[in-house]
Amino acid sequence: MWSCLTGLASLENWIQPDPESVPVRTRDPNEFIAMPASNSLLSMRGITKAFPGVVANDSIDFEIAEGNIHALLGENGAGKSTLVKIIYGYYSADAGTIYWQGEPAKISSPAHARQMGIGMVFQHFSLFEAMTVRENIELAVTSRKKGVELSDEIRSVSDAYGLELDPDRDVFSLSVGERQRVEIVRCLLQSPKLLIMDEPTSVLTPQEADKLFTVLRRLADQGCAVLYISHKLEEIRVLCHHATILRQGKVVTQCDPTQVDTKELAELMIGRSLKPPTAKAKKTGQVVFSVRNLCRAAESERNISLKDISFDVRTGEVFGIAGVAGNGQTELLGMLSGEVLADQDSAVSIDNVDCGRAGVQARRDLGLASVPEERLGHGVVGNMSLTENVFLSGHEKYGLSKNLLMHFSNARSYSQKICDEFDVRHSGIHVDASSLSGGNLQKFLMGREILQYPAVMIASQPTWGIDAGSQAAIHQSLLDLAENGAAVIVISQDLDELMALCDRISVMFAGQLSESYSVSSLTAQSIGLLMGGAQVELNQDVGNAN
């Protein structure tokens, strides 16, 4: 996300592939084995790990040198997280050898890995919400220091790296970026030799990501190796010295990411050519969804209160709501979808029908569809089959129930249709929804809503944690939907995504929604500043706002 400056340029690359792009310089993995491991910190030979039904890692060779920032790339399910968990002692490999500083090593547990000098910052933070920063750090470090002494040590390390932290704050009150700082400081206190970062920027503003990169570069300069996992190809090109690409559990290639353009990296990852989402010329029509002076008081100190939110969306238009997670997006989505009712009926209207006091089903009847951020649990019921999940939002529009009885044959054909049209890879429509990978589940969710032909579609973080292939498919389906005359609202913190999809963007900060700006008037840097709460002078898109 940091890379949005270059991101815009890369976006053009996606839409118009550069014919003279540099050919991929791949290296034969076997050549790699023969390399002398003089400054090699960690090297892995023939690592294999199988789970029931799938070989997650298939004789992987991998090497990382001191002071290197090494990218690990791959689609969801390519085996990145399995490999990393083997390094971190979470899993033990079925076969293969690990060498640590040239010596064969067995990493038996995460605690052991930390003792050896391996630190890890998790994608889904492994913090204890109800505890203070100091307690969280005390739990993870094997320091004899306690209480005030530890607090001082935390302060000195966080100051040294420019990662401001207050040791006495409760973690639940911290922003996502601050939580990540806690994790990083926690690792740094152990003075690690290898730091593993699992998709660290997916939750950061461009400015925060920038700061993180500075820290990582500094660590690398001091000789610490960084293993960097990300979907964001641009930032890998900017940050990393080496890249290893995995596909279906195998090493596809090793390359120098600065020498390869993002499109090729993406194609190496997914193993086929990538069709970038294309938007045809759009005709925007009259306002079909409008929100007027929407407010919501925070129920608790963990919630954000919404302040006087107003916006309009027209048919055929994609409207983006940018913002760092936790600035009221979840609260807003609940009010737009009807899970929480507004005080006034006029606060939300669909097709000029006021429905601020109407519930979810009434709004669905008016043509609203929404895909929440949390797929499992909110979007689908994990331990119900795909067919049963189709019922949940589709029983009305698809005509799946009659006289309180369910029409299972219709439901099955609908779920089959969703899976076919939206390329949902599954092992049968009778399987539990929770068995699908994130990308496939999201495609299923999108399909379920889109095939109901909504007039207004709201998608929150539609591609969070999803690989490039699925991401492109989801983006295309949203663009197609808008082209067919629906109003589409995308709530996201991924600027590349918003820039690629939207016609207009507003930024959410601390429960307030900024005015809307047409995408052409924005730069990633200016949205980034808005996301951080700064007041930015921009040419407001007068024509479309209100």
Binding site: S109, R114, F122, S126, L127, F128, A130, M131, E138
Partner: protein, 309 residues
């Protein structure tokens, strides 16, 4: 003079009524703080009561009786730990089953001992302190389990908030996945916490059959295990408030007896309901402050931990 002794008597009975609640609730608090909801407190208390009685009667030593009570509770809790932590059974269902099992098993063990007399636990009067008027006999002339119940509540408070193992225990209850990812042995820590809960419930039962009413009667806990569970929530998982809760609920029980005794014109059944009504009322009142409860409540309570996902 007469008036003072009546007050003293009432307060003494309040202390007796509160002690089994305090013991069991303190144990359950530790188990719940580690993320395990053990609804089998009633069953563990009953087993503790019968084991303590049989132990004391057959050995003739009240000390061995108390130990037998604790061991009985621990064995029951280990059964629960085996089911829920090793075999990953549902905690609620297993806890309810444990209570039913405890009721049945304690009755079976106790058949030959019904109605047999036993000597009440001796009181240990602390020198000098017990001579203080009014407070002396109340605070410093009690039996060992009463002292222990209060000491343990403070000890648990200290353990949870001022020691590293206590911090780890809270962390395991807060997020077992995060604790596991840092490298703590989630199952082992929870098993120990559950065993502590069992030992304390067993001691609560032992107090009932050795001191409160020194004899064995079938189902003599009469729902105290459930009140202990309620006290933990009432106390929002804080040991200090467990003491307040246990004494509050103990007082209500005693009040109910005395109201019946002095002939208040309310049906006895309604008065017997009082402790349970108060429990429900308190639960409703505190759950209104949703965030404050959430902050103290272990976030992973009742959840099954699968280490490999």
């Amino acid at each position: 003079m007469e008036a003072i002794t009546t007050v003293e008597l009432i307060m003494l009975t309040v202390v007796s009524a509160a002690t089994p609640l305090l013991l069991a609730a303190t144990g359950e608090l530790v188990a719940e703080k580690s993320g395990v909801l053990n609804l089998g407190v009633e069953g563990m208390m009953l087993i503790g009561a019968v084991c303590a009685f049989v132990g004391a009667l057959t050995s003739g030593s009240w000390m061995l009786g108390i130990i037998a009570g604790a061991v009985g509770g621990v064995l029951m809790s280990m059964l629960f730990g085996l089911l829920t932590l090793i075999f990953l059974a549902n905690q609620v269902a297993s806890g309810l089953a444990l209570t039913l099992f405890g009721i049945g098993l304690s009755s079976l063990i106790g058949i030959p001992f019904i109605g047999l007399p036993i000597e009440k636990l001796p009181t240990l009067s602390l020198p000098f302190l017990s001579d203080i008027p009014l407070l002396g006999p109340l605070l410093f002339s009690q039996d060992v389990l009463i002292y222990l119940s209060v000491i343990m509540a403070f000890a648990v408070h200290w353990f949870l908030n001022h020691t590293k193992p206590g911090l780890v225990l809270r962390a395991v209850g807060e997020s077992h996945d995060a604790a596991h990812s840092i490298g703590y042995a989630v199952v082992k820590i929870r098993f120990l916490a559950v065993m502590f809960g069992g030992a304390m419930a067993g001691l609560g039962g032992a107090f009932l059959s050795l001191s409160y009413t020194p004899m064995w009667v079938e189902h003599m806990t009469a729902g105290r295990g459930w009140i202990a569970l309620a006290i933990v929530v009432f106390a929002t998982w804080k040991p200090g408030r467990v003491i307040i809760g246990a004494y509050l609920f103990g007082s209500v029980t005693i009040l109910q007896l005395h109201l019946q005794g002095i002939g208040v014109q309310i049906p006895a059944q309604i008065l017997s309901m009082l402790p349970y009504l108060v429990t429900i009322l308190v639960l409703v009142l505190i759950s209104r402050h949703s965030t404050r409860v959430k902050l103290n409540a272990p976030a992973c309570i009742g959840q099954i931990f699968h280490p490999n996902t």
